[in-house]
Amino acid sequence: MANNELSNGSLKGYAQLLQSKQISSLELTQAFLQRIKQYNPCINAYIALDEDKTLAQARAADARIAAGSAAPLTGIPIAQKDIFCAEGWPTTCGSKMLANFVAPYDAHVISQFNAAGAVNLGKTNMDEFAMGSSNETSYFGGVKNPWSYDRVPGGSSGGSAAAVAARLCAAATGTDTGGSIRQPASLCGFTGLKPTYGVVSRFGMIAFASSLDQAGPMAKSAEDCALMMNVMAGFDERDSTSLDRAKEDYCRDLAKPLAGLKIGLPKEFFAEGLSAEVGQVIENAIAEYKKLGAEIVNISLPNTGLSIPVYYVLAPAEASSNLSRYDGVRYGHRAAEYTDLMDMYCKSRAEGFGAEVKRRILIGTYVLSAGYYDAYYLKAQQIRRLIAQDFVEAFKQCDVIMGPAAPSTAFKAGEKVDDPVAMYLQDIYTISTNLAGLPGMSVPAGFAPSQDGPALPVGLQIIGNYFDEARMLNVAHQYQQVTDWHTLAPNLPEGKA
């Protein structure tokens, strides 16, 4: 298809093509569906497709464009992480537990895209209940990294990540509880943003750790992320933690020059554990920012190392509580054979959850159980405050914080799957912002050589102060005006599944 170039377009570019009638939404959508047919059997980024529903939305978008009432994303095909309920669509959260669940209503994020006239291309693969950093815990199988098929795309938003990187969608949604947008964005080489906690409604988004979960855009560029944020963000009374703030235009500051910007570099983000090759790419990116007029400030986030232990108390504790709803009574998997109610619960949950989800439920149950609450849960909440205070101090000295988004490039499938602690360390640079509730981004910053394969993408992380998304998008956008890493797409081999 001649759409190799088309699939590489920007959201603004698609909108211009659509509104000037050079292409219809139906044609654009069919072009992406064609690419999905060609590459998805191998990559496994999508786990639910419904051509009739998708094309019906595209036709409706064309009617809206013809009527002259198009919004910026009207007619543009978007991939939705399978954590979002979308009415009439299978919504599985990557789990056998929900393998037969068809959502009876729309998540707030989905209804926002529908109202904008965007087209839902399909539901994307993910780690089961968003618990994982490689997409390998999905009941529906792993996802291939489009840059190197023997490697993982990262996780938990691995399907959305591979779909964006392989140009199997115009843009995608993800969610980030401990790094699930930023780490896959780094490993697959695109732009991803986790907003400030409370900016995007969690209504209809299947819960993992409710005090940390936040949805955000996964797209080619900062400008695309800004356009996605304009649709996704906003107050929703159905989410009790949704923040009642005035609507923002996230594109408003994109063009601002960066002269005088103060960039904080936390020494803890460049210490032991960071691959030397990744560190070099990050240094090169910082050098580029200096050329743009930014000033570098050396800072410290002394409690960074504690973010992983704290997270692996708080997230499993919240998960064990959230996932207690899956009992085989009203929806979800029920065991085929059982004796009494207790047996039905225990068998249904043993069969419906995968190994990593069970581990986290057990850890969460343990740290919340009688006698251990103070030593684990309360202690973790106290250290969470120390971690958040580190950032308050840091932002007195700088405007944004930069560092790597992940400690290494994409690793090989199977490499860490049997070692949960090694897998957890993938999120060492991302988790602290979730704990603090701060916004974070990953921006393509170059490629690092690998010992036994092609060079692989590296993401620069940008952390902003609360509600500073527009400034972070500006900081990323200006970098993308002088670099072309975000425009590079992998040459997809015609590999079979």
């Binding site: 037969n100 669940f101 068809v102 009876p104 209503y105 906690y197 409370g198 005090s211 940390l212 009374e237 933690t241 923040l243 009642d244 190392g305 992983i308 232990p309 704290v310 692996y312 108390v313 009992d327 085989g328 009574v329 009203r330 979800g332 029920r334 085929a336 054979e337 059982y338 009494d340 109610l341 207790m342 047996d343 039905m344 225990c346 068998k347 249904s348 949950r349 043993a350 069970k358 581990r359 439920i361 057990l362 850890i363 343990y366 740290v367 159980s369 030593a375 684990y376 973790a380 909440q381 106290q382 969470r384 405050r385 120390l386 070692d419 949960p420 602690v421 704990l435 603090a436 509730g437």
Partner: protein, 104 residues
């Protein structure tokens, strides 16, 4: 603190997850590794620090006590699980969900 196989079985019961002897042993191994990671917290002096339970200091929003949702029972019941124990029917009857008898 070292975990025992009895701890695993007790926690699995509390979490309502059936676990056999083999799985319990494998789980003990993995969970011990994760708990060792968590133990790093104990080196930190946290006396006097107010626990942070949430990313934002929010107070609960209140709303007027008015009907805000429509009844979607029929829609929701389409997602009912298969009854099991030999039946392939959905575990629903007369708008209710079917579970094993709990009161003698």
């Amino acid at each position: 603190m070292a975990l025992s196989i009895e701890d695993i079985k007790k926690v699995a019961h509390l979490a309502r997850i059936e676990i056999n002897e083999n799985d319990a042993n494998a789980t003990l191994n993995k969970l011990s590794g994760i708990l060792a990671l968590i133990e790093q917290m104990q080196a930190v002096d946290t006396s006097g620090i107010v626990p942070m339970s949430h990313a934002q200091d929010l107070s609960q929003r209140l709303r007027d006590d008015v009907v805000s949702k429509t009844n979607l029972r029929d829609e929701f019941q389409k997602n009912a699980p298969i009854l099991g124990n030999g039946s392939q029917e959905l575990a629903v009857a007369g708008g209710l969900y079917l579970v094993p008898k709990v009161i003698e």
